[in-house]
């Protein structure tokens, strides 16, 4: 196979392996501390659940300086007897390679898709390299629906802390569900299973120089699979606990890339999402159980302060595309005290839709537009934290379900104004 991005030694390795049944990709960047555990879990999963399948583990690295790739090459399971009843028949190959292209998770995935296509694999999975809660069962849950049930795309379903994944809960999940009509709870979960056919389809798209090559890859993979009628399901993986993220990671840059990628996909598939009237559940695999989660520290005062600052300074920018009622509400909420601080779901859904329409109409520089959403998002998150302070996981799920229904109801506004 001729690839523009794979290095010569990888091409040689591919020629040596020739074909494989399963490929598990692990994108990484300075994850030496955790990637050993992830590789071992994947290795154990492949050995335990797919002993007769030819499998390859690919570490696609973004130029780590902490020896991440050495850890991957050295990660082996010393005592197979403790985890396996029977010995593996087929070997597991491990390849660690730096990826090429613009730095980001998307470029790492592109290398994984390329190798998957070159090896003509039947099923693939990708898992994050900073996971602390991954178990061998994750490999089974992400791969088996593809190999045995003919699904093309397997999304994760986790138990997360009620305040975790707030961009997912307040924007990406409700919007994706309302747009494309599938109730996929973690559209940007980061750990996915997919068929070799879908990996080849992804490679036909020319998106590798856009935000998709960065944080946008997850929503792009999910939306592309759904919008192109690939068979989609989700698997319950348990708790998602990972290494502390880089504290310097910029929230507005993250929001810009993820929300921007979602809005870009709306541009690509208007013919698909405009026809969708309601959402439906997707097949779900895995045994669901309650898990204990670590407590999370949230500074509500500071969040409200950031929201107020945003309203004070940026309302004139927003007034160019949000309705008068929403602008009036935001001006009023500037004076609300912490106890009465609340952003209703209807207001939030209209704000997100107004930003989508403003982005579609290109009324201003896109980066400015999307980054100006940050204080409003922080305000909505503060409101959510206040509302769910005493709620258990089930009540929080109900609250998110309620928000999703509001998004589905407001979709007509989006359809009408998307010209």
């Amino acid at each position: 196979m001729n690839s523009v991005i794979l290095r010569n030694e990888i091409q040689e390795k591919i020629n040596e392996i020739k074909e494989a049944d399963i490929l598990v990709g692990i994108p990484s960047y300075n994850n030496a501390r955790t990637i050993g555990h992830v590789v071992k879990a994947v290795h154990a999963g492949l050995s335990k659940y797919f002993p007769d399948k030819k499998a390859v583990i690919i570490n696609s690295d973004g130029g780590s300086s902490d020896g991440t790739m050495d850890v991957v090459q050295g990660a082996t399971i010393e005592d197979y007897k403790s985890i396996l009843v029977q010995h593996r028949v087929e070997p597991v190959f491990t390849i660690a390679t730096p990826y090429q292209g613009i730095p980001g998770k998307g470029s790492a995935f592109r290398t994984i898709f390329e190798i998957a296509a070159a090896l003509n694999v039947k099923a693939c999975a990708v898992v994050d390299s900073d996971l602390r809660s991954i178990t061998p069962e994750w490999v089974e849950l992400l791969i088996k629906p593809v190999l045995e049930r003919d699904f093309d795309y397997v999304l994760p379903l986790y138990h997360r802390h009620k305040y975790d994944g707030t961009i997912t809960n307040s924007i990406i999940y409700p919007l994706t569900r309302a747009l494309y009509g599938r109730q996929v709870r973690q559209p940007i979960g980061g750990d996915f299973g997919f068929s070799g056919k879908l990996a080849k389809f992804y490679l036909t798209k020319d998106v590798w120089e856009s935000d998709v090559a960065k944080y946008g890859i997850d929503i792009w993979m999910t939306t592309t699979a759904i919008a192109n009628n690939f068979k989609v399901c989700q698997s319950f993986l348990g708790a998602k606990i990972h290494d502390a993220k880089d504290p310097g990671a910029d929230l507005s840059a993250m929001l810009y890339q993820v929300v921007g990628a979602t809005f870009d996909l709306m541009e690509e598939y208007p013919g698909v999402w405009k026809k969708v009237k309601a959402s439906e559940p997707v097949a779900t695999f895995g045994f669901q159980y309650a898990v204990g989660l670590e407590p999370v520290n949230v500074n509500i005062d500071r969040m409200i302060e950031k929201f107020r600052l945003g309203v004070k300074e940026l309302i004139k920018i927003w007034e160019g595309f949000i309705s008068r009622d929403i602008a009036a509400f935001l001006r009023r909420s500037e004076d609300l005290q912490k106890e009465s601080f609340h952003i209703p779901d209807e207001v939030w859904a209209e704000i997100v839709c107004s930003f989508a329409i403003a982005s579609h109409r290109k009324i201003m520089n896109r980066e400015h537009l999307l980054k100006s959403l940050t204080p409003l998002y922080i305000g909505k998150t503060a409101s959510f934290v206040i509302e769910t302070r005493e709620s258990d996981a089930q009540q929080v799920d109900q609250k998110i379900e309620q928000l999703c229904r509001v998004f589905e109801n407001i979709k007509l506004f989006l359809n009408v104004n998307w010209r």
């Binding site: 993250m254 950031k306 600052l309 300074e313 920018i317 290109k362 980066e367 100006s372 204080p375």
Partner: protein
């Protein structure tokens, strides 16, 4: 009779002769002006279509210039305004050519010095225009970035960025026009240096406690971070 001949007839004949000599030039000038007006209208229409086709209006909207033009009373889209400008420049060039055709020495001298100065005028207009657009763009970028960083004086930061870019553009435009070249550069340097010095002093004297508190929090890790994951 001689007197009548010398005082009335001869000057009248000379005047008539001059008028007759001048008339062809005058009609040529009128024709050139008429052609200029006609070409101006054609070019205005052509450029309006061209500007619309290349998405100039969208570009102005995205940079926020369209909104500011509206606020300044310019309600037409940028493509219309600029195509009108192209039309008027065409008419102006033909008007100048028409005036040259008249072959009046005084007019020719004035025109010559005016025409030599004209490129400077247009370049400085362009500098001002670009400066205005860039000032809006950078001011908005600075405002949003500082709001997202939680800085209370975000508004001031945005305005300072806008003011700085505008002053820089103004200085460059005036320098292009050759108005007090050195005075302007020196004034700008003094003004800019003064502002930076004033800000440094204000920050150093007024904000030393805040800076200490901030550094203490950072170094001792007293500032509690939100621990939840956004994605």
């Amino acid at each position: 009779m001689d007197f009548f001949q010398k005082v009335i007839i001869e000057p009248s004949e000379r005047l008539l002769e001059s008028i007759l000599q001048f008339l062809p030039n005058f009609f040529s000038a009128l024709l050139i002006l008429f052609l200029g007006i006609l070409l101006g209208k054609v070019l205005k229409s052509v450029f309006a279509r061209l500007f619309r086709a290349v998405g100039l209006d969208r570009f102005f909207e995205r940079t926020g210039t369209a909104e500011l033009m509206k606020k300044r009373g310019l309600k037409d889209p940028a493509s219309v305004v600029l195509s009108k400008l192209v039309g008027w420049i065409t008419v102006f060039i033909f008007a100048v050519a028409a005036m040259k055709t008249l072959e009046v020495p005084a007019v020719e001298r004035i025109l010559e010095s005016f025409i030599l100065y004209l490129p400077n005028f247009f370049v400085s207009l362009l500098i001002l225009f670009l400066g205005y657009m860039l000032s809006n763009f950078f001011a908005r970028a600075a405002l949003i970035a500082s709001v997202n960083a939680g800085l209370r004086m975000s508004g001031l930061i945005g305005k300072t960025v806008k003011f700085t870019v505008l002053v820089l553009a103004g200085t460059m435009a005036l320098e292009q026009l050759g108005i007090g070249r050195e005075t302007i550069v020196i004034s700008f340097t003094i003004l800019f240096g003064g502002v930076v010095l004033a800000l440094s002093l204000a920050l150093g004297l007024g904000g030393k406690d805040i800076a200490r508190e901030f550094l203490e929090k950072k170094l001792r890790g007293e500032d509690k971070k939100d621990e939840f994951e956004h994605l």
